[in-house]
């Protein structure tokens, strides 16, 4: 009997948990591609996507947004009549699995491009096959350094390093002369941890301040020690540069020590998640800023509203509406619009790669600056964005776009000059 | 059916090897039954088989007419069959008092204390050592404790395997009368003993076992008069 009761309780709870996922928003009709309302029925174009669903964190909202966009596209004439068959795969944070999936998508399924990728392991594990097969990856979200140092990998997001830098720059601008010493906390994941903090630290040092990078083992449970370690540096600001799940205990530990009023707290775009303010609680109201990479969800601008409309009409209610979702939407949009300009009969991997490389200026009101792919040896087109503040259980944008002043971006800026994007 | 513990045609295997073949033994209440035989003849296996610690492969074991095959050891103990295994085994990490209490596990809570008192009256030596760890006691004291544990469970049948194993004769002399007294109180005692003279002196019935089979069963006096039976069983 007890077992049955337990089962019922569990089932009820599971249901409740699933249902409480997201909240619906009324929106106007979503516009995708040709926007002709005709379902595409031709020979499908295969596009793949690799994300991490299972594992330490659910890292898939970018792929989900791309999937929603392509669904919308297929309902609206597709690529000049040809539907896009979008294959989203879960690599479970496992490089082996990621490499198997890349082989499957590219070699077995014959994908012409990968879009909306969002994974900690994909960039590293699959760099070889991407270059070898010369397939272009228009990723939604790149995290490790590898994602920003490949010829064939172009993420629409800014990356944790740029994001951390912007977060600190914003604090320095808000409190002029007050931010002298910073601490940047990151998990010791190879090619993520230290690298993601170096931009912020080198920027503050350039301003005459000092910075410290603390990397920690994600398996460690003792967040208080981590916070105390940060406090030992006597910082004026701390950037919590971790995936959202890991950030929660760090903020909890800081709350316990009553640190919100003693110094300034910020974090990169990985914390930009609608659940985040609720997870860290009321205490942090107005006391945390979060970098956004892209503009705020409630900006009420045409493309922003279109993204929300696409998600509402073609996505699941439980799909997150976060910055990564925006990135996935943008990645899908730029790909679709590029393909639309091509001869539908001549769409193959080679031509798609070439076409995507020739994207030199893609504009959206979700982005602060025009985005591009280009044929440079690496891609980090998004390095300008706004910052949000935690307020009333929400993330409210603070205002101006900030351009990350990270010396690592010098080559990117130089390339931008050659294609006429920056001046 | 009738009173008594009956072992009927029992086969038993230990780690894949047959150690008992069609063994028939009957214990009557109030009597001491001696089971003799050389090492490895299967006496201890029989005790463990009756007590439920080893599964029997064939045959039947009845306690007062009730079949007990397949019951767990604790259930058989609760039916009134108390086994005292070879080698004065006690719960060495536990105190003497705890050992005694554990032996009363299947008794109603209120009856445990009186039962322990009875056992302690039988072995007053243990009273002084109630709080000491039983593992630190001498072999003789441990054997007394093991017997006391059996007494606490108020057995109808007591299976005593090699009570004198490795003990000084003085101690053995102390234990034997206890068994006799139990038998007088109506307990059916199975006595396995390497000191055959002790066993034969106090037993009412004797069985001799050889290589997993009962080869003799009858009056102990017959064995005393006719030692060749015993010698052939031991010295074959």
């Amino acid at each position: 009997m007890r077992w049955k009761t337990a089962l019922c309780t569990l089932a009820a709870m599971s249901f409740a948990a699933i249902m409480s996922g997201g909240q619906a928003q009324a929106a106007e009709n979503a516009k995708c591609g040709l926007s002709n309302g005709k379902a595409a029925a031709g020979d499908p174009i295969i596009i793949g996507g690799i994300v991490s669903v299972t594992g330490p964190d659910n890292f898939s909202s970018s792929g989900l947004a791309a999937a929603a966009y392509f669904k919308c596209l297929n309902a609206n004439g597709g690529i000049n009549g040809r539907p896009v068959k979008y294959l989203m795969q879960d690599d479970a944070w496992n490089p082996e699995q990621s490499s198997q999936l890349a082989a499957k998508l590219i070699r077995d399924q014959g994908a012409v491009a990968l879009v909306g990728n969002m994974s900690f392991v994909d960039c590293g594990a699959n760099q070889g096959i991407y270059e070898k097969e010369d397939i272009m990856v228009i990723a939604g979200v790149g995290v490790p350094r590898d994602c920003f140092f490949q010829k064939n990998y172009a993420p629409t997001n800014a990356g944790p390093r740029v994001s951390n830098t912007k977060a600190i720059m914003d604090l320095a601008a808000t409190y002029p002369g007050k931010i002298k010493r910073i601490v940047c906390i990151a998990p010791n994941i190879p090619n993520v941890g230290e690298w993601s903090c170096t931009g912020a630290v080198s920027w503050i040092k350039k301003q005459g301040g000092d910075g410290k990078i603390i990397t920690f083992d994600p398996g460690s449970l003792d967040a208080t020690s981590l916070v105390l370690e940060a406090m030992a540096f006597k910082p004026d600001a701390v950037s919590v540069g971790t995936p959202k799940g890991m950030a929660v205990p760090i903020f909890a530990a800081a709350e316990e020590q009553g640190l919100a009023d003693k110094l300034h707290w910020t974090g990169p775009a990985s914390l930009y998640n609608l659940d985040f303010p609720r997870a860290i609680g009321k205490y942090w109201d107005g006391k945390v800023t979060v970098d956004m990479e892209l503009k705020a969800a409630d900006a009420n601008t045409p493309d922003m509203n279109n993204w929300l409309a696409v998600m509402d009409q073609y996505g699941q209610k439980s799909d997150p509406r976060d910055t990564f979702s925006q990135a996935g939407y943008l990645a899908a949009r730029v790909t679709a619009e590029t393909l639309l300009k091509m001869d539908p009969a001549k769409i193959d991997r080679k031509s798609v790669t070439a076409a995507l490389r020739s994207v030199k200026r893609f504009e959206s009101d979700i982005l602060c600056a025009p985005w591009y792919v280009g044929d440079g040896p690496r891609h980090n087109a998004n390095h300008t964005g706004p910052v949000a503040q935690v307020k009333d259980g929400k993330l409210l944008p603070k205002g101006q776009c900030i351009d990350a002043q990270d010396p690592e971006l010098d080559d990117v800026r130089a390339y931008e000059k050659t294609i006429g994007i920056s001046n | 059916m009738s009173e008594g513990l009956e072992v009927k045609g029992v086969d038993l295997q230990r780690s894949g090897k047959a150690v008992l073949h069609g063994v028939d033994v009957t214990l009557a209440r109030g009597r001491i039954t001696a089971l003799l035989g050389a090492n490895g003849a299967g006496k201890s296996s029989l005790v463990l088989g009756i007590a439920g610690a080893l599964p029997i492969a064939a045959g039947q074991i009845l306690v007062d007419g009730r079949p007990i095959s397949g019951l767990r050891p604790e259930a058989i103990r609760a039916l009134g069959v108390a086994a005292v295994p070879e080698g004065h085994q006690v719960l060495g990490d536990l105190s003497v008092e705890d050992n005694l209490k554990v032996a009363g596990s299947h008794l109603p809570r209120a009856e445990v204390k009186p039962a322990i008192e009875v056992a302690l009256d039988t072995f007053p030596e243990l009273r002084a050592r109630l709080s000491s760890r039983s593992g630190t006691m001498s072999g003789g004291q441990q054997q007394m404790l093991a017997l006391a544990q059996a007494i606490i469970s108020r057995p109808r049948y007591l299976l005593a395997d090699e009570l004198s194993f490795g003990l000084a004769p003085v101690v053995v002399g102390r234990l034997v009368p206890v068994l006799q007294k139990l038998a007088q109180q109506g307990v059916g005692v199975l006595l396995i003993e390497q000191f055959t003279h002790i066993a034969l002196k106090i037993a009412d019935i004797a069985y001799v076992m050889e290589r997993g089979r009962i080869c003799f069963h009858g009056e102990p006096g017959e064995l005393v008069r006719n030692p060749d039976i015993l010698h052939s069983a031991y010295l074959a």
Binding site: A17, D222, A232, V248, A252 | L94, S153
Partner: protein, 287 residues
């Protein structure tokens, strides 16, 4: 030289949750001979259930009770239904079998709740006080008190109660205890219940002190097992000392420059050292 006091105080609370888990592991191992790798996963499940009830507007105390009840019932069911089928297997296999339970729970929690930033909030979080320069929420104090209380309660239970005595008897010699009339399966069942409820309590506390994540809470079992190893899976005081030592040392190493990054190895080093020390005498293995 860094100031170690705040780290010491902060390590104590983490240590307390290790202790709670470890005590459950030791009680279970003593009575039934099973090392339970699913202790952490059971705790995580309890935390998720509590969280869901609170999220849906349920009263908090009911939520905690429901969570602990779920972990307790699951542990009991495993102990009563599945564990006996492995009774004749090697102890290692029995431990590995509990790992598969952890996997099932992990998958279930991932499927139902997913990995999102969550934290289970307890009312005690809002109360805090200062102790040698470190602010401590009442939750930490409660965790520590619960750890002490649970340990003492379990020790008293084992020492005084009839069932506790039977568990000690089982731990000493399982076969002989059965011959002496100890109802083995019943005592086993209670051991699973104790360990399941301790898993629930420690899971809920960890979900508050750290975060509510299936993966993190499931693998929190490792330091708990290390603590149990230090207690040789038998001595509760040694287990408590082990848990506290592991938690505190891990925290104390944080500000030390070179070894800091390696501090998560503390449970392993403690356990290995403890095992080697215990087994320092050479013995032959008869079979």
């Amino acid at each position: 030289m860094p100031d170690f006091t705040p780290f010491f105080v902060s390590g104590l609370a983490t240590a307390a949750t290790y202790v709670l888990s470890a005590v459950g592991i030791v009680v279970l191992y003593r009575a039934s001979g099973v090392v339970n790798f699913s202790q952490g996963a059971l705790g995580a499940l309890a935390a998720f259930v509590s969280w869901s009830i609170v999220e849906n507007g349920g009263p908090a105390p009911l939520a905690w009770c429901a969570g602990i009840l779920v972990s307790t019932v699951l542990a009991f069911l495993y102990g009563r239904v599945l564990a006996p089928r492995l009774a004749f297997s090697d102890p290692v296999m029995r431990a590995v079998a509990t790992l598969s339970v952890a996997l099932i729970l992990l998958g279930f929690m991932g499927y139902v709740w997913g990995e999102l930033p969550r934290r289970l909030r307890l009312p005690t979080d809002t109360i805090s006080f200062e102790l040698i320069g470190v602010r401590i929420t009442a939750t930490r104090a409660v965790a520590f008190a619960l750890a002490v209380l649970a340990t003492v309660a379990v020790m008293v239970f084992l020492a005084r109660s009839r069932l506790g005595l039977q568990m000690r008897a089982l731990a000493n010699n399982r076969d002989l205890s059965a011959l002496l009339g100890v109802r083995v399966l019943r005592a086993d069942g209670y051991a699973w219940i104790i360990s399941g409820s301790l898993a629930g309590v420690s899971g809920i506390l960890l979900a508050d002190l750290q975060r509510l994540s299936g993966q993190t809470l499931t693998f929190a079992v490792i330091p708990a097992i290390s603590a149990a190893v230090i207690g040789r899976f038998s001595s509760l005081p040694a287990t408590v000392a082990g848990g506290v030592a592991i938690g505190v040392c891990e925290a104390l190493l944080t500000p030390v420059p070179v070894v800091g990054p390696f501090r998560t190895a503390v449970p392993f080093i403690f356990a290995v050292a403890a095992l080697l020390w215990m087994q320092r005498r050479f013995t032959f293995v008869y079979r």
